[in-house]
């Protein structure tokens, strides 16, 4: 009890700027979820209230996590990992099928996305793995262990299939290894090979038609690398912006029009016509394409504000890593910050057509309960590292 009270006193030392940034982003999210669903008269119209409830629940978890010593993770991170893997396996069998993919598990009427838990599990277990207790400091394990650690959930997520979420594992593993002090040469090699792999896949989609390879040959290749048809479509749309504007290219094109037509100052809150008129598909406007709604209604000014908020959040997170009292804290913060950065970057980049469309939400802003709670839990861990920083 005394310990709990002293921990509670730690709250006074937390990074208030970070908390303010988080709350602002959540508020932006709730406001624009409201805007994105304003014309709906079904249950979707209540999404912003749901989001608010999830956010409040998440903030409680955030504070609870802050007061909890992150060093206790060493004991639980493996259990967490095992549980996440079990859920990821379970979702393949018992998951609810939405648009042809099993990504959701229903617990007492609440949907949970195990792939979100998977990411966090890898960060926690990875941080534990990479930062052995001080007395065994010199025994940094081989980086292959971490690849194995991340590989299992990654493959399971790919199996759902959810390629986008699976790809997020790569940068966070890389960043954790890098900051943990892994030799840079193999890391650079790995990043390069990743780039080559992506290029090969993109090339395989775009080039055979031009090089005269038969469609049958192309199909065989895609079956061999397990790329599904819709993934192919998305990549094709990305490579050929004019292709099929009424079909597969619709979301990308409408999102770009929404963002672009927002102009410098936007059309005003609740006045984004792309969303109002349904050009921005209603199903994704409050989730993966929430940034299109924000950018259309608030313009370049608003988009930059959102970018600045995320920049602040990331900087606060990495600052926590710099002042962390031990390696576990550092690696943990880097993993979490990288995960958030990857989501932000990929989501915004897809909104404005820089990368192919992948179903990755915008942290703290997109509608989604599991992701909101998980993100706040992760950010709470960063705060937990920060309040126990060295030099106090």
């Amino acid at each position: 009890m005394r310990e709990f009270l002293s921990n509670l006193r730690l709250l006074r030392r937390m990074n208030w700027l970070m908390l303010a940034t988080i709350c602002t982003l959540i508020a932006v999210g709730v406001l624009f979820i409201y805007s994105a669903t304003q014309t709906r008269d079904d249950s979707t119209a209540r999404l912003f209230q749901m989001q608010l409830k999830w956010a409040l629940a998440g903030l409680v978890i955030y504070l609870a996590t802050t007061v909890t010593d992150y060093r206790k993770l060493r004991d639980v991170s493996w259990w967490f990992y095992v549980m996440a893997v079990i859920l990821l396996v379970a979702v393949l069998f018992f998951g609810t099928r939405i648009y042809g993919a099993r990504r959701w598990l229903m617990f007492l009427g609440v949907g949970v996305q195990p792939s979100e838990l998977g990411k966090l599990a890898v960060i926690l277990a990875g941080a534990t793995l990479l930062s052995p207790p001080a007395e065994k400091y010199e025994r940094i394990p081989s980086m292959w262990w971490l690849f194995l650690l991340a590989g299992i959930p990654m493959l399971l997520v790919m199996k759902e299939p959810d390629l986008g979420s699976a790809l997020v594992y790569a940068p966070l593993v890389m960043a954790m290894l890098y900051v943990a002090g892994a030799p840079s040469r193999p890391l650079v090699l790995m990043v390069l090979s990743g780039v080559v792999l992506v290029t090969v896949v993109l090339g395989a989609v775009a080039l055979p038609a031009r090089l005269g390879v038969t469609p049958e040959g192309q199909d065989r290749f895609f079956r061999a690398i397990r790329l599904s048809d819709y993934q192919r479509d998305r990549i094709e749309v990305f490579l050929q912006p004019g292709k099929d504007p009424m079909g597969t290219g619709w979301n990308k094109r409408q999102s770009e029009i929404a963002v672009g037509s927002g102009g410098l100052t936007g059309k005003g809150f609740l006045k984004g016509t792309q969303n109002l008129l349904g050009f921005l598909p209603r199903t994704v406007a409050p989730t993966d394409f929430i940034f299109s709604v924000i950018a259309e209604e608030t313009g370049f000014a608003g988009s930059v504000m959102v970018l600045v908020l995320y920049g602040l959040l990331l900087a606060c997170g990495l600052y926590a890593a710099m002042v962390a009292r031990d390696k576990l804290g550092r690696v943990l913060c880097v993993g979490i910050v990288t995960m958030i950065f990857t989501h932000v970057f990929v989501n915004m980049a897809m909104t404005i057509g820089l990368v192919p469309i992948v179903g990755i939400p915008l942290p703290l802003v997109s509608y989604g309960g599991t992701f909101m709670v998980m993100t706040l839990f992760a950010l709470g861990l960063i705060q937990s590292v920060y309040v126990r920083r060295s030099g106090l």
Binding site: G181, I257, L264, Y310, L314, L318
Partner: protein, 614 residues
């Protein structure tokens, strides 16, 4: 101990490495955000117009809104052409739209139409394929299912408990001619406008517009059509209307004010009656067209909203040609009504005086060929005044030869024959004043004395329109001033401000001596007023009138087809009316037209005008 320090050193170095790398990670992430910022700048600032255009293209539709058509009034502000609201019942699909496939929505519309049919008492004008066509082509516009709802149906609709959601009364302006057949030929008719690419530039949709196709509707279409406006319709992703805003208000067309007096017009039309013919009443003091009628007429309301092919065929196949405005578009041989012109030419030539006499034995020898006078017994010795009164062919043939053809041709042209009068009506015929040059060209033959004799009595190749003869009558009435017939007094906007005024136009004053004019007028006075005058049947109580009858043979010789004519002006001193009337087939001018003009003039001067007006 030593190892311990080494260990601390190693730890410190490791931590430094980690901190360095953390900074690298931070910069990479900020670099990533900066990259996003740059891309956003490109999209939202540099290329914003491109995307705004795309947005506009996919979500904005412009609808051309027709302007209210200008009205037509007579000189006493009686409305002759107006617009009437036509009540239509339309579906608004954006409110009816059922989720899922369009078939659900089409079924819903069909279902509702079935219920409404019982209420309205008439089947809808659209079928399932029309609904589909509407969905494909005109989705953001209302889908009109019933037109011309009568007040009873409207009342039943209002009282019924029918679900009016997505359903509304929609008003279309329809051209309406409150006086029906009255002045039908002057009005002309409207039809569906054929819009040019230029008209439709920038519009995705248009509503049906009307356009003048004949008569004043056609001649003044430019003024009455007004300026179409535009409506911006914002559509949603399914193509349904989301919102609309007036972009440009349509500018209503201008109103026409005619010189026509509808009371006189009605009397004139009644006077001609059912037989094919035409009558024109001018104000000799300024050329105002007080009435211009052609029989048979048509009801321009039949052409609204569009002409059915049945009506069109009927009108076109009718041998009486109801669509032809005989007063301006048909040419006739004038016969004896031309004789006053010959008389003026003769008296102005210097060779003939009012007292020049000729003997009429009943025929006239042109070389070896005899030309008959209409009176086989002959008129004996006649002077000019008597010759006009008696319409003696022999006398006019003789003076024609005496004064020479050039004078007659010149005088015919001076009074406006052989040339369009320039009235504001379409399809005006110019008629023909023949001459040596014309004959050379047409018949490769020389002008002969017989030709002169023929034209002198209004026969031969000479043709005129009733309107031209009315101008002749007006010129004789006012003592020699030729006016351009003025049909339209002015054009004014909806607020009543005249934008254009058409003042009377005196084309010329005839170069004839007052004496010559007096003689001709007196001859015409006798035609009506003398006991033996051929136009005596036109006489009315209390008003002195002057005129000239005419009967012109046409068609095969001996076929007994005769155009019967009469010119008239009254009162003799200070004339108010100059009239020309022709009946296509009649016995003679005096017998056929005389009584008709009696009816007209009696009503004008003595009758209760209000009765005819009503």
């Amino acid at each position: 101990m030593c190892i311990r320090i080494d260990c601390d050193m190693a730890v410190k170095e490791q931590v430094n490495l980690e901190l360095r790398r953390l900074r690298v990670v931070l910069f990479m992430m900020l670099g990533g955000l900066l990259l996003l910022g740059g891309a956003l700048f490109s999209l939202q600032v540099a290329r914003r117009h491109e995307f705004e255009q795309s947005l506009h293209r996919q979500s904005m539709r412009r609808v051309r809104l027709p302007a209210a058509r200008g009205r037509i009034f007579d000189r006493n502000e009686i409305c002759l052409a107006d617009n009437q609201p036509c009540y239509c019942l339309a579906f608004y699909l954006e409110e009816i739209r059922k989720p899922g496939r369009w078939q659900h929505t089409v079924d819903e519309v069909n279902e509702r139409m079935k219920k409404l049919t019982a209420l309205i008492g008439r089947r809808s004008m659209i079928a399932e394929q029309d609904i589909w066509l509407h969905i494909r082509k005109r989705l953001p516009l209302p889908l009109v299912a019933w037109r011309h709802l009568d007040p009873a149906a409207l009342a039943r609709l209002a009282e019924s408990s029918v679900d009016m959601e997505g359903l509304d009364i929609y008003i279309e302006p329809l051209r309406h001619y409150p006086r029906h057949e009255l002045a039908g030929h002057l009005m002309g008719y409207v039809g569906r406008a054929e819009l040019s690419d230029e008209d439709l530039e920038g519009f995705q949709y248009y509503l049906s517009e009307m356009e003048g196709k004949a008569g004043l509707e056609r001649m003044f279409n430019y003024a009455m059509a007004g300026t179409a406006g535009g409506q911006l319709v914002r559509i949603n992703a399914s193509g349904l209307k989301y919102a609309e805003s007036q972009e440009k208000e349509p500018q209503p067309g201008a109103d026409l004010v005619l010189a026509i007096d509808s009371r006189i017009q009605a009397l004139a039309e009644q006077a001609v009656g059912d037989v094919p013919g035409a009558v024109v009443v001018l104000d000799p003091s300024n050329g105002d067209v007080l009435a211009l009628a052609s029989s048979p007429s048509f009801n321009p309301n039949q052409f609204v909203p569009f002409l059915s092919s049945a009506v069109w065929d009927e009108q076109n196949k009718d041998p009486a040609k109801p669509l032809v405005n005989r007063a301006v578009a048909e040419v006739y041989a004038p016969g004896s009504v031309f004789k006053p012109v010959t008389a003026l030419a003769a008296l102005s030539s210097g060779h003939i005086s009012p007292e020049t006499t000729h003997n009429c034995p009943g025929y006239f020898m042109i070389g070896a060929h005899p030309m008959k006078c209409w009176n086989p017994n002959g008129h004996g010795q006649v002077n000019m005044r008597k010759a006009i009164e008696q319409s003696c062919n022999v006398y006019f043939a003789a003076v024609g030869l005496q004064c020479g053809y050039e004078g007659i041709e010149e005088m015919a042209r001076q009074v406006g024959l052989g040339k369009k009068t320039g009235i504001d009506l379409d399809r005006e015929a110019s008629g023909l004043v023949p001459g040596p040059a014309w004959k050379k060209k047409m018949w490769k033959d020389d002008w002969r004395p017989g030709d002169t004799c023929n034209v002198s009595i209004g026969q031969g190749a000479l043709t005129v329109t009733p309107l031209q003869m009315a101008v002749v009558a007006a010129t004789l009435a006012n003592g020699g001033t030729v006016y351009r017939p003025r049909l339209v007094l002015g054009i004014r906007d909806r607020a009543g401000h005249y934008t254009t005024n058409y003042p009377p136009v005196a084309i010329r004053t005839l170069a004839v001596s007052p004496g010559a004019m007096k003689t001709v007028r007196e001859g015409m006075y006798d035609v009506v007023m003398a006991p033996s005058g051929s136009g005596g049947r036109a006489r009315i109580a209390g008003v002195e009138m002057a005129g000239k009858t005419g009967t012109a043979e046409f068609g095969e010789k001996g076929g007994h087809h005769k155009h019967s004519w009469m010119l008239l002006f009254a009162p003799f001193e200070r004339p108010q009316y100059a009239v020309a009337m022709v009946v296509d087939e009649g016995v003679s001018g005096g017998l056929t037209v005389g009584p008709r003009l009696h009816t007209l003039m009696d009503a004008l001067f003595n009758g209760d005008g209000k009765k005819a007006d009503g």
